[in-house]
Symmetry: C2
Subunit: 386 residues, 2 copies
Amino acid sequence: MRTLITNIAELTTNVAVGDDPCGTMNDAAVLIEGELIAWVGTTEGAPSADEVVDAAGRAVIPGFVDSHSHLVFAGDRAAEFEARMAGQKYAAGGIRSTVAATRAATDDELRARLRGFLDEMLAQGTTTVEIKSGYGLSVADEERLLRLAAEVTPEVTFLGAHVVPAEYADRPDEYVDLVVGPMLDACVPHAKWIDVFCETGAFTVPQSRRVLEAGIARGLAPRVHASQLGPGEGVHLAVELGAASIDHGTYLTEADIDALAGSDTVLTLLPGVEFSTRQPYPDARRLLDAGVTVALACDTNPGSSFTSSMPFCIAVAVRDMGMTPAEAVWAATAGGARALRRDDVGVIAPGARADLVLLDAPTRIHLAYRPGVPLVRAVWKDGASV
Amino acid sequence: MRTLITNIAELTTNVAVGDDPCGTMNDAAVLIEGELIAWVGTTEGAPSADEVVDAAGRAVIPGFVDSHSHLVFAGDRAAEFEARMAGQKYAAGGIRSTVAATRAATDDELRARLRGFLDEMLAQGTTTVEIKSGYGLSVADEERLLRLAAEVTPEVTFLGAHVVPAEYADRPDEYVDLVVGPMLDACVPHAKWIDVFCETGAFTVPQSRRVLEAGIARGLAPRVHASQLGPGEGVHLAVELGAASIDHGTYLTEADIDALAGSDTVLTLLPGVEFSTRQPYPDARRLLDAGVTVALACDTNPGSSFTSSMPFCIAVAVRDMGMTPAEAVWAATAGGARALRRDDVGVIAPGARADLVLLDAPTRIHLAYRPGVPLVRAVWKDGASV
């Protein structure tokens, strides 16, 4: 089956051309063959196909690569959100209420919720999603959450070190012993990544190092939550260990920025978190100008960011973080792919996965220019229209 | 035809009960009969019906009443938006580029665009929309825009005094002569409201008074754009003339707030404008605490706010203007109705229009808690599922 999308007013390929990292093409066409992209060029020179989709002057971008989510959980925390908006401060400890609800849920309940979120994301243009554990916090529950996540994505992250569970509140180092021992043993078969929340109120730098090094020793690749609630040493730890990404980065020092700019570690910004916790937005402009590679992700979770909308994150990144629309769209597609060390997604080029989004708009600028409006008109994932 | 919606976890009626202006009911049911709401109560005591819709623990709110839009226009200003996000300041003069595109468009082109926006809004839960002219700025074009608007809504506003058109740039008072003379003559048959943009760069206070008084003399009811770009006398003029609403209010003085609190004039806040022009958000908390009646609207237009999403406006009003989710939802429904002096919409009560939104969420809080996510699962307008 060969599907040709023609008359694309603006095609974002993310194959850099000159000083345009988005590799923007006008009056373009894309040929999908099976699960892959087979050809990219102008409408005029397009090959024949079994099916032709006329984009009729609309824009096409790669499917969003959402490299940070926590989709396996039960319950919500709407009342906590409401209280926070009335003035109460966000604290990482709220995670424990989701842990209790998640432990009490059956596999099928968690699976139904998870699939609901994936459908919701796909309808909003997200074709690749990373999923973390972290609401189990026991050997059996962390294993269970990762097993469920692995049913739906290869980008599975073991985050047993999300927060110290209530039953270990007075002995966090014993909890880390559990994480790097029996819990890691149980989780390794399902996971690709090892992660830790390196933050005051969660895990210290030495504890974080133990967790990451234990995961690396078992073949998992590192990524780190850090500098969400205040400055810390998480960025340096992440860079030192060659993490694919450090996520949050709400509070970065000059030294953090220098370390990131000279590294292969992506900085994944999560605008939904600052939006939903009323924290100050990081200055993405400064980061980009310093040479840091930036990704955007939703961090979908019931506590600090319950959005699943990459277009929303793009709009906020443009309005409040100083990114251009082109930079924000790149960060939400190619940037997310870099944060997952993938080169087969986040790009529209021959041989890449055929994951594409047709916008109900003539340019990608509209994703920021029309905030909140559902502009995703059609989505292809692995070559199939969904 | 009688349709019963049952098992509504949280129903926002906007029929005040005690200290709850939202008149919130749990485990509720609503009976629709023809175009109207026939009955509201608990699921257990619900009457029989021809059709039963099981809300299955979701929330229902009144359809959004978007009391401020500029939907009859051609073209867009994406490049201007992009330049502004890169640091260029918003100026009212950009309106003129939309005027040129709109004048060049045919009736059918404008009609197709208008209907597209209405479909987009309906899918996002907006069941009542006000539409202004203001991109014609000649007798024939203003008449044409209002005629097209009147095809789709009774809430039609003559805004010939949107900006002084280029051909009158050096003689604004002559343009006002045209607005209050032949243009008003041509437009009165289509319009219910008279409006003016009372702002530096648009119309002075004496010019604004001339426009409003001329409209009032012809039976139109006044509403005013004011204090968007800086403080001014527009609020006082609006209150003095008994305007239904003053819209924007980004820059209000204490005297403005006192005047509004003691009046029947609604303050319509437009969060999309501050979002898309990067202006400071007005402090809705202070306004509400002072006793001002607040509405929320999108101000859909290609220059300063191209969102059409009332849920987006609610989320921003909660995050950045200090409204509670309940206040924001009230403002986007009952508040909009007050701003249009309507008591048959924005409320779920026997006898009101059957305009309802079923959310894919258990509470209205989720509209702010899940920013950007399309949470509108079903919409009824005039009793019909759409």
